[in-house]
């Protein structure tokens, strides 16, 4: 029986359940680091007085600047200092840093630091940053706030729009969100008194990358820095880029020769960690008489904040929108301009789904509006437009491998029983009061980004491949050392299932070592729904090699042909016989009796493999059922259905967990969470009293069904699904809200659809005054 495909319990859990996991804040024994942050959005720094280190101290030590680079002519390159130099550019930007014996002392010291800042005008929202004469965020480097601008159009776009049977124009807006891992960021560094080597423990997603960039900044050999991500309390992209704070923690520990730790508090996390998602889409869709989307034109603006993030850069959101906007649909003509615009607000990093929640919102609203305009059903318009021939090459050259776009939708709508819903809706409309609505969202999730996908972005650093080292020790246990860096996804468990199948052992005899640069091969960490595909693929390939080695040892011991040996249930057996030997015994022989190995065989049992695919596409359909109170604007999600096709599921329980968690974040994006700034750039949402993540009260049970398309785009058949929940849920919910209020003529294309926005939309549609 195979282990892959089974919902075995996670190996990660017992430690966490007992409360003996080790998160950064649990390490202790260190002086407390606290950052003194800018209280204003924009200004010139006069003097910094008090017991603090500033950029001058970093400069004196020759500490470098962060350079997050894209090699494109339309990209503004900047050198970002670790602490603000001369100017501050957002509320919360670190200006100085203090070190106290305790957290309380560090807080007191920080209060003693006086910042003389001459406040200046701030560019805040998208319109503010794009307005003529807007205050410039980087006046020395650029005479506008547009930091990256991509543009493309297929020939014939304008003509295609001209001859379209129906043209639909639409503007959608996605509010700014915070990824909000429950554990905020943090780091802890110790420099050895003898030898001077530093160990950084940090709550991060990509330890090897962080080691490289910190060593570049501090001018030290990578061999002298060990970076460990211990247990990480959620990340969702917020812990992917280099944190300036982490680099400073390493610098301080080396300079002071004492252990130091920075534990971010929640208000810092909400104010000065990374934000994401603030985007505006203007779409024009040209449909033919058969309701097929022939031509799609888009103008996308992403507010990318005050600084780029390393190594992803601030091109990631706008350029992903440019490349992936056609989504699961098949417009022949496509044109887009997509800009990243800087503002005096917190910098942005990719948050689970990156641009795709906003892309999908725009496209799925377009489909629903077009359906209404053309007098057909939302299901029918998608039926006519979804990809169904594979591979499909998009207008931007992306190759979609096989998927089940239509099948997933048909399955979802059958499951919810759309007909029964519509008659309930009719009854409710007649009765007045709260109104039910249903929303469909179909989408593709590009996953398994390897080097080819990142190379196309022309990044200064090209992430991609993953490496895995596998060895079986003399006791017969397997250790897998991986470059990926799981933090709650259950990757250790899933990889142990893959190894167990290939080498004929039990997952309990597999240990996965991750997130420690001293003990793992170089890799890119965990992000972008890629770990299962990349690290899973590399693990699978390495495990096959290990199985071959075991087979040849067994062949020698059993005096059989290697091809006749099969490995299962802890034994190597000669096919068709009961002749066999324990794998654990083979492991002993391979290490301790190497005279028995075949001629020329290397002692021991170990294998190494890398994997670097071009990428693949998962797909899914989400259906949300909501109830909207037109009087209060309150929306509650009553039902949520997901049909997901992520290829082969290694551990269905873990896959479902990823979907549920993602959908909850997506519902939050659609209805609840929004980072708010006032027009001067003061942030108004710095506590969980103002920034509202959902509780169990706002999240319904999520009904999940799977399709399993086994594409050859990945060696394991797994496609990855870590972000799908957050990608599809916002559009499904917004479509449902619009459906609920359709009879009032409401059109609401901005999220979060807070009660105020819903009421505003109802007032606009019905012409009733505010009251």
């Amino acid at each position: 029986m195979s282990w892959v495909g089974r919902s075995i319990r996670r190996v990660e859990d017992p430690t966490l359940l007992r409360g003996v996991g080790m998160f950064v804040g649990d390490i202790g024994g260190a002086a407390a680091v606290r950052f003194v942050r800018s209280p204003v959005a924009s200004g010139l720094i006069g003097a910094v007085r008090g017991p603090a280190y500033t950029i001058e101290d970093l400069d004196a030590d020759g500490v470098g600047n962060i350079e997050a680079v894209l090699h494109r002519p339309d990209y503004v390159r900047l050198a970002q200092p670790l602490l603000a130099r001369e100017r501050v550019r957002y509320v919360g930007e670190p200006v100085a840093v203090v070190v106290g014996d305790t957290a309380a002392e560090a807080e007191d010291l920080a209060e003693q630091v006086e910042l003389d800042i001459e406040p200046g005008p701030a560019a805040v929202g998208i319109d503010g940053a794009l307005a003529p004469g807007a205050p410039l965020v980087h006046p020395d480097e650029s005479d506008s706030n547009v930091m990256v601008a991509g543009e493309m159009a297929t020939p014939g776009l304008a003509e295609a729009l001209d001859r379209a049977h129906a043209v639909v124009d639409l503007e959608t807006v996605s509010g700014r969100q915070a990824a909000l891992p429950l554990e905020a960021r943090g780091s802890h560094a110790v420099t050895e008194r003898f030898g001077g080597r530093t160990t950084l423990h940090a709550s991060i997603q990509a330890p090897h990358m962080v080691r490289t960039v910190i060593c570049d900044l501090l001018g030290m050999p990578e061999a002298d820095l060990r970076v460990v991500a211990p247990d990480v309390g959620g990340a969702f992209g917020q812990k992917l880029p280099l944190a300036r704070e982490d680099a400073i923690v390493v610098w301080l520990s080396r300079r002071l020769g004492r252990p130091v730790a920075w534990i971010e508090d929640r208000s810092e996390n909400l104010m000065a960690s990374w934000h994401s998602r603030e985007q505006r889409y203007r779409l024009r869709g040209g449909f033919d008489a058969g309701a097929h989307l022939e031509a799609l034109q888009a103008d996308v603006v992403a507010n990318v904040g005050a600084w780029p993030c390393y190594p992803i850069t601030w091109g990631v959101e706008p350029l992903m929108a440019l490349a992936e906007l056609p989504g699961p649909y098949t417009p022949e003509h496509y044109g887009v301009r997509s800009r990243g615009v800087a503002s005096h607000t917190c910098p942005m990093s990719p948050y689970r789904g990156v641009s795709r929640p906003a892309i999908t919102l725009a496209l799925e609203r377009l489909m629903d509006i077009a359906a209404a305009r053309l007098g057909i059903d939302p299901v029918e318009i998608r039926r006519r437009n979804l990809q169904s021939e594979f591979p499909h090459t998009s207008p931007t050259g992306l190759r979609h491998d096989e998927g089940t776009y239509r099948e997933a939708m048909e399955m979802a709508v059958r499951h919810v029983d759309l007909g029964a819903f519509r008659s309930r809706q009719q009854t409710a409309r007649a009765a007045g009061g709260s109104q039910p609505g249903i929303g469909i969202c179909t989408f593709s999730e590009r996953t398994g980004y390897g080097t080819p996908a990142f190379a196309a972005r022309a990044m200064g650093v090209t992430p991609g491949y993953e490496n895995v080292e596998l060895s079986m020790d003399p006791s017969g246990y397997v250790t897998a050392r991986i470059g990926a860096s799981p933090h709650g996804q259950g990757l250790e468990t899933a990889l142990s299932q893959i190894v167990a199948d290939e080498v004929g052992t039990d997952p309990g005899r597999v240990r996965v070592v991750a997130s420690d640069t001293d003990r793992t091969p170089y890799g890119w960490g965990s992000f972008a729904s890629r770990a299962m595909v990349l690290a899973g693929g590399a693990t699978y390939l390495a495990a096959q090699q290990l199985a071959t080695q075991l087979g040849s040892v067994a062949a020698e011991v059993l005096e059989a042909a290697a091809d006749d040996i099969f490995l299962a249930d802890g034994r190597a057996t000669v096919a068709g016989t009961s002749v066999g030997v324990e794998i654990a015994e083979l492991a002993r022989i391979a290490h301790h009796h190497t005279q028995r190995l075949p001629d020329g065989a290397a002692p021991g049992l170990s294998a190494q493999a890398g994997y670097d695919p071009a990428g693949t596409f998962s797909n899914a359909c989400h259906v949300a059922e909501v109830e909207v109170d037109p009087d209060t604007g309150g929306v509650s999600v009553r039902r949520f259905v997901v049909v997901e096709d992520a290829g082969r599921l290694i551990n269905p329980m873990i896959a479902d967990g990823q979907i549920r968690g993602g959908v909850a974040q997506g519902i939050a994006n659609a209805l609840l969470e929004e980072v708010v700034y006032d027009e001067d750039g003061n942030i108004l949402t710095t506590s969980l009293m103002d920034y509202l993540p959902p509780t169990v009260a706002e999240i319904p049970d999520i009904e999940i069904m799977h399709l399993e398309t086994l594409s050859d785009a990945t060696v394991t058949g797994a496609k990855g699904l870590g972000e799908g929940g957050t990608i599809g849920a916002p559009a499904a919910v917004l479509n449902a809200v619009n459906d609920a209020l359709a009879h009032l003529g409401v059109e609401l294309n901005e999220m979060p659809a807070t009660p105020e926005r819903v009421r505003e939309a109802v007032r606009t549609a019905t012409g009733t005054p505010a009251g």
Partner: protein, 165 residues
């Protein structure tokens, strides 16, 4: 020279945690959460917000779930405090709720887990036959960013049902 206020002067405090007395010294302004984590070495109690919203720091105080980031250590003197480290049996056997969270995949990153375990322990001990709606409401006082909650609810319900069976 900053003035030293009485709140900054450490005083001896005895905390009874998971049946063991911990003699520590803590400034009157020191929270119970910090004291448990830093003085008692019980780092299973986590801090997700330090302003009373997330519930990651939930412990039981005389059987009641409380947010240990909002209490001062001195206020907890004389009370029976229970933390996640005290849930498993002396022989290491997991508590039924720990087992259920494991079986139902009620955790991903595990950061919220100690808080949810203590909250649900307190809820089920005081209201063993709590109804589904009330249970959801009780669990709505803590935040989880990873799971979407459903599996947490299922885990707690399964323990309630098994106990009532």
């Amino acid at each position: 020279m900053t003035e030293i206020s009485p709140a900054d002067v450490a005083v001896p405090v005895v905390l009874r945690v998971n049946g063991t007395d911990h003699r520590v010294s803590a400034e009157p302004r020191r929270t119970l959460a910090d004291t448990l984590r830093e003085e008692c070495g019980l780092t299973g109690t986590h801090l997700g917000c330090e302003h009373g919203v997330c519930g990651a720091c939930t412990v039981l105080l005389d059987g009641e779930p409380v947010r240990s980031c909002l209490l001062f250590a001195v206020q907890a003197q004389g009370a029976e405090i229970r933390t996640v480290e005290g849930l498993a049996g002396d022989d290491g056997t997991l508590h039924p709720l720990q087992e259920a969270f494991w079986r139902h995949h009620g955790l991903q990153c595990g950061f919220c887990t100690p808080g949810f375990l203590m909250l649900s322990t307190g809820v089920l001990e005081t209201r063993p036959d709590i109804g589904d709606d009330e249970l959801r409401e009780a669990l709505s006082s803590n935040l989880c960013r990873c799971t979407g909650y459903q599996t947490i609810v299922e885990a707690v319900r399964s323990v309630r049902d098994a106990a009532g069976a």
